[in-house]
Symmetry: D3
Subunit: 155 residues, 6 copies
């Protein structure tokens, strides 16, 4: 049976840390859906269009990766797409304390979905989108943190 995993996030931006998580997950799953959560109230720093475009370029040669954006609950997207696995990266305890209760709420909403946790490769392990946004906002170069970052746009 083919196994699909959903990797949800705002990916604002999608970092080399996220890339590392995807690469590892592809060893385990047949198909990986990167779901960019749209927040109707918070626009994001990089435009949604450029974030989608960025990801489509990064994975244009990897047919097993699909990019989409979605509104609403991640767990509802799983139901709609018939996906039984969620993928989340863990960098440190703060991540764990954030992810663990979300996974438990999801489990109570839909017992058929399991959350899988992976850690990125060491050399990209501390990358955080919020820090990278600050660097970009101040005119810093984010190429060390984000592949093909020139594809990203701000309004």
């Amino acid at each position: 049976m083919s196994k699909t995993v959903l990797y949800p996030g705002s990916f604002d931006p999608f970092t080399k840390g996220h890339e590392s998580i995807v690469q590892k997950a592809l060893l385990l799953f047949d198909k990986l859906v990167i779901g960019i959560g749209k927040n109707s109230e918070k626009k994001g720093y990089f435009t949604l269009e450029s974030r989608i475009n960025h990801l489509e370029h990064l994975y244009k040669d990897e047919k097993r990766v699909q990019i989409l954006s979605y509104e609403g609950l991640t767990i509802d997207l799983c139901s709609k797409k018939n996906i039984n696995f969620l993928l989340r990266g863990l960098r440190n305890n703060k991540d764990f304390d954030y992810e663990y209760p979300i996974s438990m709420h999801n489990k109570l909403l839909n017992d058929n979905v399991e959350t899988i946790f992976l850690c990125s490769d060491l050399n990209v392990s501390p990358f955080q989108s919020n820090i990278i946004r600050e660097i970009h906002k101040s005119g810093g170069n984010i190429d060390v943190f984000v592949s093909q970052s020139s594809l990203l746009r701000i309004d």
Copy 2:
């Protein structure tokens, strides 16, 4: 001497995890005041009125529980109400790192008030109001997390 504890929070919403904390605290205290902190700048997701109403229904048969809302410092409410104990629930390290410094600041502001920490029952232990708000906002059913959730209203 009768012992009263103040359980402060925004309770937006009051979850089954909070219920579990109250239930345990009632074994220890003669009276428990649930204080819903009003933030003049941040309105909350569920209306204050419905949050108060929700709590009054939940504890309508428990005479030892009193519901009120308040503005200003929690420690000042303790002074005004002549309460010497604060009650806080702990779910994980993030909670501890959040609560510990607050309790220390409170102690320096009023040495007569002690903070008591309890952990909820396991089956409701990961419930978080912020996650539950997200679920509700996206149209999800929050009944598994909140008793009598139909009493809660958004503007």
Copy 3:
């Protein structure tokens, strides 16, 4: 109804941090039993006799504090003594991650016993018996950490 709490530990030694926890708990409980857990396999650094003696001197004027030593499960001592509350101090996240699962196992063994967590006063908050033992072992003066430390004996 009179409320009794059990404060279990090896108290090897009983520090000013433990004293602070006891002092706070006495505001809340009518009676406090300090239970020194005997470990048949691990003798402890200070002799059990001197640890009991130390505590009896510290609380000789506080009739509400009782000192005892015990073998076996803490939760069984609660049953035997008809005690419904356990008291534990929290200093940091390491303590929380240690205490939380123990309290959950205890709850599953005896649903009538609740664990209450308190934090000591700031000025004695980082005191740890294991560090204090190292200091004593190396000939350091432990008076700043332990009241009446001269009552403690090593074999």
Copy 4:
């Protein structure tokens, strides 16, 4: 391609928390090897033989689960058995701080092995073998924590 994961541990004893991890992993992997690490210097509390026997009974109807014991490095067992995935359960931050550096050392020793982290179901989430051993040692009943615990033996 068939996917196999190694679930290493001392499993002293194998708890319902471990069971939950195995159950979830079987959704993801075709085969799961439970590897009981033998420590030549530390015998364990329950006999190795009874731990193996316990696991064989628990999974006698699940052909995809294999039980074995091993000495030496877990990462070497992966090489020998041609296994590319390690499975570890996470309960809290202490687990994360313990597991994360081990996974990073393993990665540096063998870049072909990825560690997958799962969280057990909530109702068994705090179970810890070391606490359960203490309960058993003191004559407590461990049936709530361990399935078919009567199969376990101490010397």
Copy 5:
């Protein structure tokens, strides 16, 4: 060779905890620059002018301390000012999980800058600017947390 360290922050307000960090750092460095980060989007609670004034008064007799405000990346300020050390205080795990990835991003942006971590003295260790702002906003007295707090102004 003279050694200079940059102590960056919003210092909204600069607490006795920050004072303790500065005092310790002055044992180690020849010169200490307190850099108040200006955020073009978030004005801060106390006015920038009064925060600068507050610091200038606190350190008017310490010629080795320089006060400045800056916009943009902290790491860029280091380059401009030819500073090779960043100073950050650590109070607890939350601080560590916040500071660690920032220091790693900084290192990747400028390999010549090292981050030094210090812990404040125990008696001021839990002080947090955000909690102190809440206390001030509600009319509480913040003198126990902030020296010469009367110098601070809100708009």
Copy 6:
């Protein structure tokens, strides 16, 4: 005034992570003393002699680094050697929760000694001596974790 720091530890073995800490500290201090703590009760895995020899080789060209072994309290060694700074590396929250109370006890024993915390470079950040010992014990190659590891001996 010349500044000296003591870097205490069992260094069993001294890893590339420790090397990274030393390298950074040498930017800050004029002299660095690596103090290998001898524990009369616990012999260590690698012989003390080979650990000293290992360090002497690693730093044979760095005149500012001195190697010594010591018994007793680290804080007493500071007094004897007239050293006012202790150096400790931080890798994660577990390290912080371990180091923080030790530094606070030291401060109470000798107010003239400050503890400085540094983080190693990312690529060696998760290295832990205890894991490396396990790898070595099982015949694994530890060269990726320890420079010139062939100098280390076990009895």
